[in-house]
Chain length 321, copies 2
Amino acid sequence: MEERLKKPGDHVVLLVGGVGGAKLALGLARVLPPGSLTIIVNTGDDFNHLGLHISPDVDTVMYTLSNLVNPKTGWGLNDDSLHAMRMVRRYGGPDWFSLGDKDLGTHLMRTQLLSEGLTLTEVTGKLCSALGVEHPLLPMSDDPVRTVLDTDQGTLNFQEYFVRERWQPVARDIRFEGSEKATPSEAVLAALEQASMIVIGPSNPFLSIDPILSVPGIRERIESASVPRVAISPIIAGKAVKGPTAKMMAEMGIDVSPVGVIDHYRNLLDGIILDEADGTLRDKIESIGMHTSAQQILMETQNDKIRLAVTLLHWVEENLS
Amino acid sequence: MEERLKKPGDHVVLLVGGVGGAKLALGLARVLPPGSLTIIVNTGDDFNHLGLHISPDVDTVMYTLSNLVNPKTGWGLNDDSLHAMRMVRRYGGPDWFSLGDKDLGTHLMRTQLLSEGLTLTEVTGKLCSALGVEHPLLPMSDDPVRTVLDTDQGTLNFQEYFVRERWQPVARDIRFEGSEKATPSEAVLAALEQASMIVIGPSNPFLSIDPILSVPGIRERIESASVPRVAISPIIAGKAVKGPTAKMMAEMGIDVSPVGVIDHYRNLLDGIILDEADGTLRDKIESIGMHTSAQQILMETQNDKIRLAVTLLHWVEENLS
């Protein structure tokens, strides 16, 4: 099988949501040349707000890869101001979703280009190109898919749940409205077709990765892919680095550990990288036929991100090829 | 006729465009209590830009009346920044229409409220109320009317002509697209009905006042009104204080003087206040049956605006009631 001669790093396809996934994307982008990495990003969080089309995860990855991201938050632009939002607040408008002034430039431009008939993929390409992002960053679909949560406080849009209510409500059901009618873009299909390795980033499985998998054709292609498919655990020692992953797993009665993550990603993974803190789980995970490795997976510094990317690529090449 | 017993200042209705008219609006607002002044504003300049509904003249008047206007330009907000626009420029987007960051808050809020189904009149009321504007500021219509110019450089939207091309093209024809299907809002009709005096501000007759008059019913109501109808000349000594009024009059072969203005406003005026610099025209103007007075009409300081408002009200009460 000639395909097997491809090295895993020849064309890495990474699936991510926002902040956590963006960190791994940055690490991979620093060690893989353009053409060897494609990043497929969740757009289930996208929403229309104050007349603008906002793609929070796309922006987080784009700002991260262009080194413009606010290092304190991991999202938004560095050195941004909130003059427009203060004016919105003065008018009694919704200010729970913070939009920086520079950040607004992105939303204005995206909204304008979409209104001119460009697809979200084309718009993202233009914005990324202007910011010097060299690796393709692909929205999971050009069709609208919207994550909606049924919670103990009623039905909430993703941003209402995540930002306005600070993910405190208990999620009873998560839906990806529009996904049944959505199609992956040609660029997404081509990337999966040409992948030599598929990586699921350390993003929230339910809110960041599942929306991507909900687009008809994407899950099926990953399930049937003949290339190594690996994840970085979003759970370290029973906790999420950021956001509601652990809280949601507990509420759903799922084991809050990499084992629960593997179970959720059934049929989609050949291996998973855990944190050293979860090293005792290695035997259990290997016993279910899954490759695994325990590493330092917390990404705080730029070096952490590059180190994890290198570790991931080497480990897959040595163990899963 | 009992109506004649009403004093002209009981309910002044002022028709204006942007900067020049806003100055007179401010003067009148300072000397007339709420309930005695309604300002009808041109919306022929409104346009959709970067996904936002922008109402330049409404904003100029609103910012002026709330003392938030940039005193250097006469439009936009004081102490505003351009972070969003710099980002738009970085993306290669259109930056010829300058949108300040705080100013964007207004456009975001207006766009949001319009998308919720409020009329432009209702939205303007909400925004004005939040900024402490006490006198009703009414868009000429809730229906879209768009000023379009046929010029020696092709057909241009108002903002393309005015801002992007800095009103340098020669206008051959001016159209108010949509006006034939537009209706004045009920609030505009009620204001004209209750007017004890109608004032045409020192705005551009062709680009600021004509769009208002193009809305079916407004011109007719002013023509048949039995109350004093007066204008402040937008021309002083053959020149416009600001903008293309004089240039356009010359290009159209109209006398660049208050006499040309009176001719343009045929059947709509009982009197006009000129600048002292044009005092020699008084005899000529009175000879055609028009009341007139020569005053200092250039409004530079806050005092100038109040003085002109007081002069106007007294002059009408003494001479046209």
